[in-house]
């Protein structure tokens, strides 16, 4: 239950932008318009892989405020639970999928006087959309994009064409390092920073910004976590009286959905707080993986973000 409406869509373009990144363009099956969204928004795709249904959040490429086609770019990851591998292997032109109304947890802050965008790897997807939006508004920005090698830098050529000197590319294979401190040093008051990429990079960039005295409300990051796997355990839903088993590669949220309960969510990646659920009892210890609860809340153990966190133990009882 993501709050909004779901749409059946058909893939109208599918292209491997690089050997590991696949771009999909989708239109509504019934010919209707998809809702408009602003840069930074994501949609949740439901993938019928044959096994259990997978729902993954993907950032939408290039904002279409007019409500046109949706585009996403999907990185094939080794650690994937099957979603990205399925998209790479089995989704092509003509495939029908279900997607959710977009939600924006990573919007451009329009009161800012300048925008510094930092992306690593596939983290470029929301960041490229922001760059396009800022460029269309003629707002001052700069774009820093770190990739392992040029071939993996999806969209690097396209971004260079569109944004010229505003783009700075860092190719680690050429020993080029993103020097965050230098980037942050002379930014005018009223600048906002946006970062999307691997977890370690996000932490490093935000850490450097805080150390340079940037206030929290100028810092924005998007990090979707994949649900962490682990030993299977039982979940009991106190209100509905249902029982389910959470599989090794399944999230609590997925197991609850499979049992037929519509639990709330928005990001499915531990970021938004929508899926916060009260723990009634836990026979074992909670493994919190989210970025939403505070350390104190995690330690207290009476709440859990069911999209990414799980139990290490026998049985978890939730207030659902």
């Amino acid at each position: 239950m993501s709050g909004g409406e779901d749409f059946r869509v058909r893939v109208v373009e599918a292209e491997n932008v690089t050997p590991t990144i696949r771009r999909l363009r989708m239109l509504r099956c019934d010919g209707g318009a998809l809702p408009p969204y602003a840069a930074g928004a994501h949609t949740v795709l439901t993938l019928e892989t044959g096994g259990p249904k997978l729902r993954n959040a993907y950032s939408l490429l290039g904002s279409t405020l007019s409500g046109g086609a949706y585009e996403i770019a999907v990185l094939r990851t080794e650690a994937s639970r099957g979603g990205s591998a399925f998209i790479h292997a089995a989704v092509g032109v003509g495939t029908e999928l279900t997607l959710s109304t977009p939600v924006n947890l990573f919007p451009v802050h329009h009161l800012a006087r300048r925008h510094v965008l930092v992306a690593g790897g596939i983290g470029i997807t929301p960041i490229a959309a922001m760059a396009a939006e800022l460029s269309a508004m003629n707002a001052p920005f700069e774009l820093h994009y770190a990739v392992r090698d040029e071939a993996l830098g999806a969209f690097a050529g396209d971004l260079a064409l569109r944004h010229g000197a505003k783009l700075r590319l860092y190719v680690s294979r050429r020993q080029e390092r993103l020097a965050v401190r230098e980037i942050l040093q002379h930014q005018p008051l009223g600048t906002h920073l946006y970062v999307c990429g691997p977890e370690r990079m996000i932490e490093a960039v935000l850490g450097d910004a805080r150390a340079a005295g940037w206030p929290e409300d100028s810092l924005h990051a998007e990090r979707f976590l994949a649900p962490a796997g682990g030993e299977p355990f039982a979940v009991r839903l106190a209100r509905s009286g249902l029982m389910a088993t959470v599989g090794e590669h399944q999230s609590l949220l997925e197991a609850i959905e499979a049992a037929g309960v519509d639990a709330p969510y928005l990001c499915r990646g531990g970021a938004c707080g929508q899926c916060e659920t009260t723990v009634v009892a836990a026979d074992g210890s909670l493994r919190h993986h989210d970025h939403f609860l505070s350390d104190a809340e995690k330690a207290a153990g009476d709440k859990i973000m069911i999209c990414v966190s799980r139990l290490e133990g026998r049985e978890l009882v939730l207030d659902l």
Binding site: P188, L189, T191, A212, G213, D217
Partner: protein
Amino acid sequence: MLLSEIKSRPTYGSLSPSPLATRHIVAIEGAGIKAFEAAFAGKAALLGRTTVVFTPSPDMPPDTLGRLEALGVDALHVSPSVETLLVRLAGLLATATMGTELSVTGSENFIGQAVAVGMAHGIGHRSIATEHSGSLARRVQCVHCKGFTGGVTESPVACGHCGLMLLVRDHYSRRLGAFMGVCIDAEAPGDIPAPEAFHA
């Protein structure tokens, strides 16, 4: 503590300069000297990165300027009025870089205007430290003629521009740095209650 049921009613905390900020700009109106001393005095490294813009107020301690000079701030700009201070503040913020922290202390009237200047330079209002000291005087915008009347200490009050008697509401505009004033005798002209001073 200034409390109100109205959500837009600003609340103030106390100055607590971040040790990570690379530069501190502090806007002080007269009586705010105490708040500034409490947060900054004796911290040499901090004061060495601090620029103060100051304007006197009638309710400040008699030796305020001397106390301020003795603290050893990096730069001290004294302005004769709130208006000239705000121009100076805007000039400083226009060339400031990220890592600069703005702190404001003085009357409500003053805090509201200085915070509005900070916001106009892209600082989020939550990132501006404010501490109320001295007068409870408010700055009021007449909703009818849009004129601002400063130093208002009681309600109702006559609009300094169109002369209507205004009920000063707790509704506050952060962008304007002003409270809302609405004609009190529109329904029954001349029916004006005795003015009451603001108490918090």
